[in-house]
């Protein structure tokens, strides 16, 4: 039998790109069937490809959340019902209103229309599909490997995050050890004992951070080439342009009449974000031992993503 494809056969970036594509398709589609298909596909992918790893154990959590969102959307439509005379009544509940002492009284229940219910369910399904798509990526993509493929400009922060992920289990055991030792001194329990537990662990953590830093620095961490002045200026200006364009663009998108402008600004924002990250990455001189290599399996998933994306743009899923 051929080698089995599992989560780590593909790069973590591939899984995330695939997940984002699925989320985009779910976002633009108004068709409940498509949403259900995406939910099913995401779930299917998790169950087939997942490996034995801490980050792949939360399928139930994502399923619960997805279900919760669908139910919440429908419940909101029923409980905080806006009665629509054009809609065919599905459930006729006695309506009443509550006055909270401010604003108009809140209308509750009343005749719930079929369109309201299906609309609520479709909206909920769309979000469920997005949640499950992201859940799929986070179940299948190894966060450590993902950190290794972050752009160089974020290398330092990615290092801190990967140190944190590596240290967390150790931290749990030292918290338990200190808690046990603390009982030897008698004294208070509950929240009051927080200081006695947190401080020794924190002090240990600070000491170990220093020896970790010494070890990192002794092996060359902190070497960086310097950017020329124009490049530094360029990086900073493109960042400024990016956040400015994204912020103003978002606002323009919301206020009506200016939506085209909004989309243009957001596009400019995205482009200058990448420019800024690119320039900032240039100051790094370090190399990577196992740079990402695209495998057949990656190519397969990525072409599928591309097809989905094209179809979404052509409006096939509307």
């Amino acid at each position: 039998m051929a080698k089995r494809f599992t989560a780590s056969t593909a790069s973590p970036l591939t899984w995330w790109l695939f997940a984002v594509t699925m989320a985009i398709v779910a976002g633009v589609s108004q068709n409940a069937m498509i949403q259900i298909l995406i939910c099913a596909a995401a779930l299917f992918a998790i169950l087939i490809f997942r490996e034995e790893a801490p980050w792949s154990r939360s399928v139930k959590f994502y399923l619960f959340l997805a279900g919760f969102v669908v139910i919440a959307r429908v419940l909101f439509r029923i409980v905080f019902n806006i009665q629509n005379p054009e809609d065919t009544t599905a459930i006729d509940l006695p309506g009443f209103s509550i006055n909270l002492g401010f604003g108009p009284p809140v209308e509750l229940f009343g005749a719930v229309g079929i369109q309201a219910l299906t609309g609520g369910a479709t909206d909920g399904l769309r979000l469920a599909a997005i949640i499950l798509s992201i859940g799929m990526a986070s179940s299948l993509a190894n966060p450590r490997a993902l950190l290794k493929s972050t752009p160089s400009a974020l290398y330092e922060i990615a290092s801190a995050i990967s140190v944190a992920i590596n240290l967390a289990p150790q931290m749990i055991s030292s918290l338990q050890r200190v808690q046990k030792a603390r009982s030897l001194r008698g004294r208070s329990k509950g929240l009051g004992s927080m200081a006695g537990t947190v401080i020794p662990v924190l002090e240990d953590a600070i000491d170990s951070s220093l020896s970790l830093a010494a070890s990192m620095d002794s092996r060359g961490f902190g070497r960086r080439g310097s950017l020329s002045k124009p490049l530094v200026l360029g990086a900073r200006l493109s960042s400024l342009m990016a956040v400015g364009a994204l912020s103003v663009g978002s606002f323009a998108l919301l206020v009506g009449q200016t939506q085209t402008l909004g989309w243009v600004l957001i596009a400019i924002g995205i482009v200058s974000s990448f420019a800024s990250i690119r320039i900032n990455s240039k100051s790094q001189i370090r190399t990577r031992f196992e740079p990402m290599k695209l495998q057949f399996f990656d190519a397969l998933i990525l072409s599928l993503s591309a097809l989905l994306l094209i179809a979404a743009i052509l409006g096939w899923f509307a």
């Binding site: 997005i130 400009a153 600070i206 970790l212 990192m216 530094v232 200026l233 990086a235 960042s239 978002s250």
Partner: protein, 273 residues
């Protein structure tokens, strides 16, 4: 990182990004009537843009003078905070992640506060599997709390410091709750219920609807729980934690030791022999 400053551009970017990201939380207040059909699209767009906003701020913060000691300290504090957060998880309204973000942000400065806030929520989501479209928003909100803590006035006496932190913790906890409820509001209630946002109705009308949503979903109780635990933890652990973190700050070169005793202590790490 080099003599050419241009640092103000960087700070301006962070400020703008902060304003922009608050907009991405509070869009239901501003959305106009004729884009009602686009409301759902807006939500998806912001879910996609928020991570980009985060990355931009992170890059700006990281390009400062940030060395191995700061990175290692950040790593262990994120791990500690993520683990402390796990301990508190599951009990309604108990949120144990913020006291450390606030105290550390105060001691180490805004940039560190932002990194610790975003990092703590990211790592705790990675270890528990809570990654979802809400995560970048939680990270941003927690990061903003960290930035705010770094901007608080630095008093000399420990009592005054503690008072400032406690006074800050209350609005900060509520602000986090407010932002996250704002995010949940369109996410859970959609746009077509009697307590959903009403596109084009203006900020005031929508604020009323938002408060009604808060009351019906009990969000305020959670926010209150978060504020109470954060204040209590700062009050209980603050006096000692401030001392420990200030010691760490002088060891890791965040501040130059000013008094001889501090400098004396600064030599201690791993130098027992």
């Amino acid at each position: 990182m080099n003599t050419f400053s241009g640092k103000w551009i960087s700070n301006l970017s962070i400020l703008l990004a902060g304003i922009g990201s608050v907009l991405m939380f509070s869009w239901p207040f501003f959305i106009s009537g004729d884009s009602a059909a686009e409301a759902d699209v807006a939500q998806v767009v912001f879910i996609a843009l928020m991570p980009l906003m985060l990355v931009l701020i992170l890059v700006e913060v990281a390009t400062g003078e940030i060395g191995s000691k700061q990175i290692a300290l950040l790593g262990v504090l994120i791990a500690l905070n993520a683990v402390i957060r796990l301990l508190g998880a599951g009990t309604a309204g108990i949120e144990t992640a913020f006291f450390l973000i606030i105290i550390a942000g105060y001691v180490f400065g805004s940039g560190f506060g932002f990194l610790l806030g975003t990092g703590s929520l990211l790592v705790s989501a990675l270890i528990t599997g809570g990654v979802g479209p809400w995560l970048p928003f939680q990270m941003m909100a927690a990061g903003l709390i960290g930035i705010g803590a770094g901007l608080l006035p630095k008093f000399g006496s420990r009592g005054a410091k503690l008072a400032v932190l406690i006074v800050y913790a209350i609005p900060a906890s509520f602000a986090y709750g407010f932002l996250m409820t704002l995010w949940n509001w369109p996410f859970l209630a959609g746009s077509e219920s009697s307590i959903s946002y009403l596109a084009g109705a203006g900020a005031i009308e929508n604020l009323i609807r938002f408060l009604q949503f808060q009351i019906f979903t009990g969000g305020l109780i959670w926010d209150l729980g978060r504020a109470v635990t954060t204040v209590a933890l700062i009050a209980i652990t603050g006096p000692l934690l401030l001392g420990s973190l200030q010691r760490a700050a002088s060891k890791t070169g965040f501040v130059k030791p000013s008094k001889p005793e501090d400098a004396n202590r600064a030599k201690a790490p791993g130098l027992s022999g």
